[in-house]
Symmetry: none
Subunit: 221 residues, 4 copies
DNA sequence: AATGAATGAGGCTTCATTCAT
DNA sequence: GATGAATGAAGCCTCATTCAT
């Protein structure tokens, strides 16, 4: 996603290197190992081994280990947030559909970027304070809250809907996916995404309105 | 909770001592620091400092750092599971109420034991493989799945309810609480617990049946 | 000299260890190697080897390499300054004698503490800025300047004496000793000290007054 | 000064180039950084940054870092020694005047070449042993000693003058200048040079002969 | 129970140097 | 002449753990 290459030294970054592929490769490898072992339990040796260089050579690409984590995490966060906003802002669609769409979209994005998302969601606290401040992670919640708050006028929504708690519940259910989803499992990403969206909107019980509410394109389950 | 004292070295002759307060104190301190900084970023020095002994002296209480994590995590897991089962098994109550009750109970338990739960949920992977195997963490999911599976006969439940995905959604929404709940926030534990239970059962939309479904004691919102 | 022992961690220093000799030994060894190879060219490995421990074990005694340099240098500086002031302030002696005495005393002190003085004089700039600020190295010059300034009333002194340049000349000639003095050389410390004092006060040329000026106890040359 | 260009690799065929300006520039930059941070604390990266090339490219100019230090230091040493000898040997002038002149000349040279001199005086020990042997640094002392020894016949000189200690005192006072002189200070190079020469010859005290002794051109103080 | 010293392994990072392009 | 990637060695520092007292 992000292929702006940073020079390891100083701010006077040489604009572009010819083989940015190598940088992407490093990010991918790092993300994979961070996701598997955890940031703190990953050594630069681990990464260097897989990258095929000596560990000191990594410093041609990175400024520090913390910085590497930041780069891994920054790209998924940015794109993920854009993804979320795209679904939330879609101006022509019904507000309930947008809530459903945001939920679905978030789950799908998360699964498509499972490795990097895992790192983002699990290792965010390990970033330096400065790097944490540089990342708008609170925006995830805000986007959802705003969407739900904007929907409260809609009479189809329960009157006692709490945008904040709802946002947190949705984020919990969806983010948690990184803890259990494994490719090749019995449920496809789309099944999961749809099911979560339905559950959020309709709950577990049978309702008269349910049929209507689920009249959304591309539903699978 | 669990205050069976283990002997630090060798498996023989656990010296059951009466000053178990010191052992509990160590567990509490460790949990707090693990929760704040993460297991890998916590040093035994950190813990020893707060416990008021020198680093080496900790080995009068623990066998290893990994072991300490295990002890911290074991007690919340055991008690948490018992709590979950108590709510799930309550034989005299309606199955829908039990689903609601499990959800509520889990949230409340989690918040009441926020520190240790945080460690359990965030650092489980850092345990040695052996210790991971010793802990029945999958049971959480199983308890929920079984409860929902058992309720599928009930005609009030949507026919397409997926016990596994539902369990995972509920666990996600509730477990995630450790990531954002802070004492003194604007919502009380009970508000949160009730809201999550209602959301799961009823979804976001207004329904005719809603009035019935919410006939649960102590609802707040 | 300084045997206040610092604990490597935090400010809550355990007051005194029973074997402070080991700490002094470390300071001596460090000073010797710093003097021989230079601070930057000395590795903690070098020091640990001679101290007889693994390099990581040094951190039971020091907080950092920079800190070690500071400790080495702090004691000679403090004592050296006190030495200088003792000679400069001696209230009952003639001002000219005091100038001579300061010069002699400084040379003798420097030779007696050749190793540590070498480190102080050669490696001061390598200290962290904070540590540099903590050391009153400018005081050396000030003590001398003040002494000479105070002597300007005395009619025996040339009218055009410049306290600042004189202080710098004296400090240069004397401090430089660390660059060439080696024990067992052809001149004794006392000879050197006396000669430098005489040269400063009397210059190279024969003078009528010279005989008087050299009427100082313990002259050797 | 010395701008014989050496070939970077192998001793064969030094390619005398006409764009020696670049080589001089490199020497100047290196000297400046060596003087500021110390040889060991200077990285080739530091130098390359200021020189405007990448680190590796420096090896088109130098054989090694040690070699670079050698080149920086060699030129000031050679020229400085020639300067010293010129003042010492001036055949038509009085021997006392020559002593004064050598002192003055050395101070002035040192200040005029402050940066490179600093490196020479402070970093000489960091040179490889071979390079140290290649540089006739002991000659400084020898020139002075010889001059004073040659003057001992002169009845104006004190009978107990010690050529070696005197040479070392003079070199100390003058060389030390690199430790405190900063352009734009309150004393001009000439003032300093004259003052030091006078102090050496005449000392601090008032003497009858003083008037004669100071009959030297361009005296300032 | 506790101390204080030490170990041993390893972690992150730096840096002079090389080399194919 | 210059680049950019890499090497290899080493440097400082950390930390779980051990052990004699």
């Amino acid at each position: 996603m992000v292929n702006r290459r940073r020079s390891p030294r100083g701010d006077a970054a040489p604009p572009f290197r010819n083989d940015d592929g190598r940088w992407q490769e490093l990010l991918d490898i790092s993300a994979r190992i961070f996701a598997r072992k955890g940031y703190r339990s990953t050594t630069l040796q681990d990464i260097a081994d897989e990258f095929g260089v000596l560990k000191g050579s990594l410093y041609h690409y990175i400024r520090s280990k913390d910085d590497l984590l930041y780069e891994v995490v920054k790209s998924v966060l940015d794109t993920g947030l854009r993804n979320l906003r795209d679904h939330a802002d879609s101006p022509d669609s019904d507000v309930i559909d947008r809530i459903r769409s945001v939920t679905r979209g978030h789950v799908l994005y998360l699964i498509e970027n499972l490795v990097a998302t895992t790192v983002l969601l699990h290792e965010f606290d390990q970033l330096s304070e400065q790097h944490q401040r540089d990342l708008p992670i609170r925006e995830y919640q805000t986007v959802l809250e705003d969407l739900i708050t904007g929907a409260k006028d809609d009479s189809r929504l329960r009157a006692d809907v709490d945008p904040q708690l709802t946002a947190l519940a949705v984020l919990g259910a969806t983010n948690w996916v990184y803890r259990w989803y494994r490719p090749g499992g019995s449920r496809s990403p789309e099944q999961i995404a749809d099911y979560f969206a339905d559950l959020l909107v309709g709950g577990l019980l049978v309702h008269a309105e349910h049929a209507t509410a689920t009249a959304v394109p591309s539903r699978t389950s």
